[in-house]
């Protein structure tokens, strides 16, 4: 952490985006996490992605639970809405907010403890329901705030800082998200922004439950030999399925690639996900192929990253429920409270 705020002065050639903001305008307060924490790099990637997409910060709602990861929303998008919820309860608060106001862009930030342990059920149900959100897990494999015990995502056989060996099986949140019907699943590494930034952009544009598992080394308790979530280990075992370019509907497409190596996925909003395949046999639009790639990677001892699965035309929760097309705050008193007669009609229909 630093005592001083980051100086306001910026590079004289700092570019502005379509809504006239600079990248610096998407920052938040200065981080109080340990120096070198992977989470700070993820915050920087979120800032970059939101800048690239020209998102109006005040149209974003960032929600989190408890833990190092869940502190990070303070450190980006200072002008966005925020909710720091109870441990593991971010998904239900987010779901509620989404139901009340479908017009905001929802960004849930959680950690491996918050999502794979105490909030595992909440995680599962928000994905399963197809809440339109970007759900980022900052996954460092340890409980950093309580001095580095193994978390539920620690690999079996990995070694803690003081030498204890983990005997439990890890939870692969990405694989579970695929099984739960998430319509966008990716994994990345905090130390590879070239990969991470486009994945966050694509997830933010995705109309459905988008889940990203980001391996994020804990410099204080999980960045040593024997850890499988250290900077060195992840770099050595990073096996990317593909490289992603995100093109907004308004952008002209100029790059050209050899045939067969390229898959284009057009998302609901018209954005194009251009995937350069790095893995033969993996089809990012096929759920079983996605699971297969994850299983294969695991047995080979590799960390599979990239866009694992995407379903271009997902059906988000509001569509399934048939709710009103407006946010509740856009409705008048008469619509929100239609009166005794309307209530009786409903009750009668249920008798």
């Amino acid at each position: 952490m630093s005592y001083l705020p980051k100086p306001k002065l910026h590079h004289p050639k700092l570019p502005t985006n379509a809504i006239g903001l600079t990248r610096r305008d998407y920052e938040g307060a200065i981080s109080t996490l340990c120096a070198g924490c992977g989470h700070d790099s993820i915050s920087a990637a979120i800032i970059q992605a939101c800048f690239n997409l020209s998102l109006p910060p005040h149209r974003v709602a960032k929600l989190s639970g408890i833990g190092c990861s869940s502190k990070t929303p303070t450190y980006f998008l200072g002008a966005a809405h925020g909710f720091n919820s109870v441990h593991g309860r971010m998904p239900s608060v987010l779901t509620g907010a989404y139901l009340a106001n479908r017009d905001l862009i929802y960004l849930g930030v959680s950690g491996d403890g918050d999502s794979a342990s105490i909030g595992f059920g909440q995680f599962a149900h928000s994905i399963r329901r197809g809440v339109n959100m970007t759900y980022i897990v900052e996954n460092n494999g340890v409980y950093g705030l309580t001095k580095g015990q193994f978390s539920a995502t620690s690999d079996k056989g990995s070694v803690a800082k003081k030498g204890t060996v983990n005997t439990d099986q890890p939870i692969d949140l990405a694989a579970i998200a695929v099984q739960l019907g998430a319509s966008f699943v990716a994994r990345s590494f905090s130390g590879d922004k070239d990969q991470l930034v486009p994945l966050i952009e694509a997830a933010l544009l995705h109309d459905g439950a988008a889940f990203i598992d980001v391996i994020s080394p804990c410099v204080a308790f999980n960045n040593h030999p024997g850890s499988t979530k250290s900077y060195d280990y992840v770099r050595e075992h990073n096996d990317a399925l593909n490289r992603l370019d995100v093109m907004l509907p308004r952008e002209e497409i100029t790059a050209s690639y050899a045939p067969g190596t390229l898959t284009e996925v057009v998302q609901h909003d018209g954005s194009i996900l251009r995937l350069r395949k790095l893995h033969e046999g993996h089809d990012a639009t096929d759920r079983s192929s996605a699971l297969h790639a994850l299983m294969e990677g695991k047995s080979a001892g590799e960390i599979v990253t990239g866009l694992i699965y995407v379903e271009a035309e997902a059906t988000p929760l509001h569509e399934n429920l048939g709710t009103v097309p407006q946010a509740l705050n856009a409705l008048g008193d008469a619509e929100l409270c239609p009166g005794v007669e309307a209530l009786e009609r409903i009750n009668a229909s249920l008798r």
């Binding site: 002065l9 340990c34 070198g36």
Partner: protein, 597 residues
Amino acid sequence: MKPTDITNPDHFHKVVDCQWACPAHTPVPEYIRMIAAGRYADAYMVNWHSNVFPGILGRTCDRPCEPACRRGRVEEEPVAICRLKRVAADNKGEVAHRMPPIPTERNGKRIACIGAGPASMTVARDLAPLGYEIHVFDGEAKPGGFIRQQIPRFRLPEEVIDEECGYALDRGGVVSHMNRRVDSLKGLLAEGYDAVFVGSGAPRGRELDVPGRNDAAAHIHLGIDWLASVSFGHVTSIGKRVIVLGGGNTAMDCCRSARRLGGEEVKVVVRSGFEEMKASPWEKEDAMGEGIPILNFLVPKEVLHDNGRLTGMVFEKVAAQYDEKGRRSLKPTGEPDVTIEADEVLVAIGQENAFPWIERDAGLEFDRWGLPKLDEATLQSTLPQVFFGGDAAFGPKNIIWAVAHGHQAAVSIDLFCKGEDVRNRPPPDVHLASQKMGIHEWAYDNEVSLDLRYKVPHLPAEKALRDITAEVELGFDREMAYLETQRCLNCDVQTVFTAKLCIECDACVDICPTDCITFTENGEEEELRTRLKAPAVNTYQDLYVEDGLKTGRVMVKDEDVCLHCGMCAERCPTGAWDMQKFLLETAKPKAHACHSR
């Protein structure tokens, strides 16, 4: 790109833009921090060691440091370095006891300095503490040269000149021969000096050559001579309507002096455009602020007179034209000539060197512009025991260049007198020291102030114009000075990177407020500059490159707009980044007592 060799002091020296730009390489951020800490005497001494005349330069320097200042690239205006220097001088108190003692025992060598201007005084100051016996000759009654004669008192009070000339000449070891103009080099050489330093300036004002010049001679004056007459009190008034010819700082001094001596309609007329004028922007501003219009693109054509009484001047209107090579020439526009009525004309269109006292058979060679042939580094002439400096060396420059020459000549003279090779220049004193005191604690104040440049308070114009000796600039008070010091980015506190400690976590990349740092694949500089986090378009500023990272990438830091805020080092989990203070002091004559340490 090859990794940067940070053991070569040039890389980090260049990062300290102000110090690199200063001809005398004054460690600017070092003394600015001292001013911030209220250590005015310490700040004065850092200056004194380096530039000899802090009080004088704090008012009159051409400030090559300020256009170079990094602050001007990340914000609107540079730090007011020059005026902070004056704050150190104004508040220093007693400093004489801090100066190196002059040994009572002489080393037996006698050095003659011709002219008592800044260059000669620097030579005397540098050499006297080593035991040299210095003889300074000057045609005037008091030392200072240009400083005393041509800079108006409303910019530089006489007490400041007296004090700082005194520190150079009156502490022992120096014999001043005032009122003695040297009229023969051969004669002087015959007096058996071990070395001679020529610091006689560029004393001749360039003449105006237009019809009518000689007929109205009584009302046309050469700028530098007229300023000297004003300075010595020989001239105390001027006509109501005055034309000042020329666009340099001398012209600005002339017009402002004329305003104070009775000139009501004073106009500056310049051949070139406003932007190309040689005068410093702030001097132009100050002149215009006193109600003096500057008229550009007018070339003198004729002096009008009525039986020898000057009535005005005729000018031809011109415009700048550029040929295909980009060279500028002034072409008449064909518009009607402009006539400006005037009672007196001051000519400040340049200065020339003049060495009438150097016999052509003295063994000293001159080039075709009439300047002595010199070795640029050693300032030695073709006569080995004769050295030059200041305006006498390479034509008119300024005080800070004269000081820089003085230091170099003093080094040369010392080597020469010891029988050593004068081209064997001693290296500068360089220190690099970590500023780390705790996890987020540094020995320097790393908070970056967002304040804009503070303006130095001025005497109200109606008061200033009534008295030619009333100093116009009042200087910063201590409070304002403190606020201005906080604008300094501490560019001498360097970001030093140790690749073998780096775990490539990107923390520094993410936190850097000015996007200076990139980890990427190596490449040729030109190409590498295009793919950094922020394109490095200012090619004058170096890239700092380190290899030896685990991933095989390189760390590239664009030094251009680094705020030296230390955020990279604060966010670095392994101490791969450290903030280290780079202190460089140019070489002075060996074992020199004038070194600050």
